[in-house]
Amino acid sequence: MIEARGLTKVYGDKTAVAGVNFTVEAGRVTGFLGPNGAGKSTTMRMIMGLDRPTSGTVTVNGAPFARHAAPLRGVGALLDAKAVHTSRSAYNHLLAMAATHSIAKKRVHEVIEMTGLADVAKKKVKGFSLGMGQRLGIAAALLGDPQTIILDEPVNGLDPEGVLWVRNLVKYLASEGRTVFLSSHLMSEMAVTADHLIVIGRGRIIADAPIQEIITGKGQSRTRVRSDQPDQLMHLLAGTGVSVELQENELLEVTGLDPRRIARIALESHVLIYELTPLQASLEEAYMELTKDEVEYHSLITTGADAPVQSGGN
């Protein structure tokens, strides 16, 4: 279990992490989602004792990481795929890491097999692709068979097979009762991997909830309605908590009413509707909604108000 309390990191006049509080529970995959520069990596480095918090504390299983008696056996982390001297072979890198905790050579071979690095283990890391570098980082994280696993952008640079592998691996690790904390800016990946989501933007936690709650909570259920008499229907549907938007000539998007209710209102007033499609908010939408004020770097070319509406959750 990871607990951050008032965790703050200030670099010069820039606040990277602004007094965040969160708890990462054991036995589930907790996603750490946020735009670039939101403070994800800084937070993870503070958990690992690599960056010193400006104020606040973060503990793993009740104690700051630096006070752990056997750090690698308690917490394994992939913080940066390039946390390796690239002139050393993958095997020797893992061997040196293992030596600090008297982890057997057998375990080194095990994690090499597990991460699919057997063919390249004796080669210098210099020649590794980004994906192989990630696998080596994950191998290093698993070396001590730790109770807590922290992975910063683990699927970065992985091929589809590798992405699936990481997804299954973290789910398996969580199912064994381990604490899994996974950062990503890829919402689609989070949607299928994480059980619980902590969303960070500009150094602040903007959501901390089960993933389903975030999707349904923020992105309210919407319904697409086509009708011959959109103006009349708009008038009929209007009410508190309901918003109706005329999107095309005969196309409405209704928020705040479920499809059955819309159909009933239309039926009662004899308004013909010829399409009624429930739109489930995707995590992407929920996330955009949550972080729209929090992104550090806005694109110069924005799609503006007429951003395409995605239909169907994924």
């Binding site: 480095r45 004792g49 299983n61 104690a63 750090p71 905790h101 001590g144």
Partner: protein, 306 residues
Amino acid sequence: MSSTPTTLESTPSPRGAHAGRGAGDAVAGKMSGNGTSPGPGPSFLRVLNSEFIKFRTLLSTLILLGSTVLVVVGFGALSAWGTGQFSEAASTDPQAAAAFASQGGDLAVGVPTSGIAFAQLILGSLGVLLMSSEFTTGMARSTFAAVPRRTPAFAAKLLVVMVTAFVLTAISVLLAGLVSLPILDNYGLKLDLASSQSVKLLLVNSLYVAAVAAIGMSLGALIRNSAGGIMSLVGLFFVAPIAFQLIPGDFFVEARKYLPGNTVEPLTAVQHVPDTLEFWPAALVLGAWVVFPLLLAAFLLKKRDV
């Protein structure tokens, strides 16, 4: 929002073992807590083993070590030849004879250590590189995630570097001596490798090179940049002595004695050399050049972000 207890006062204390406890109490029951480690942790011997594995598995390190031996032995042989030529000249050239006599007559004893300046440059740079590369490659994040107290890893690396520098210099000087023997013999010069002055030269120079490697490590840890670290080392050992000599004024004449590179002469001289320190002050000054940068490096290593 899930269970987020009220914010605790921030406790920036690095020794905040207690700091997280209050917040953790509510859920502490179901965790075993950190204290019960499931296996051995990073004891100093294990960290030392790890640092030794890191040291011997870099080809560039092995190349630097090999070139140190070659350079010291090569310079030993060259120096033996040069010394022979010089002594031969002394038998016919009165000027050379005078210079020869002024050296106390024993030129051969210094032959095996004639390449020390280069050993010092190479192994000092190695000290810089082994530390700075931790930061330039990102390896430091792995190293300090495994040893979050950091100073044991620094001390272990220091031990590996210093012992290697000492042993390698001693072996190189010995080899240089052995290679020089037949060359000197050719010119009728005697060199006794077991004489007290030979042994003293070997030991003091090896210790000195180990000290330079340690200073290099401090520079690498402080500057965290390979080029910058090596430039500083070269500045301290090669540029400063010359610059101090060129700048007029008594201050620089005096200050020059305290440069680390100028401490080895009084430590090995048979009799006191003008404009250098006495033996013990020189030993203390060299020790200070080793200890204070190391303490500063260790302190900042613990304090700074990786």
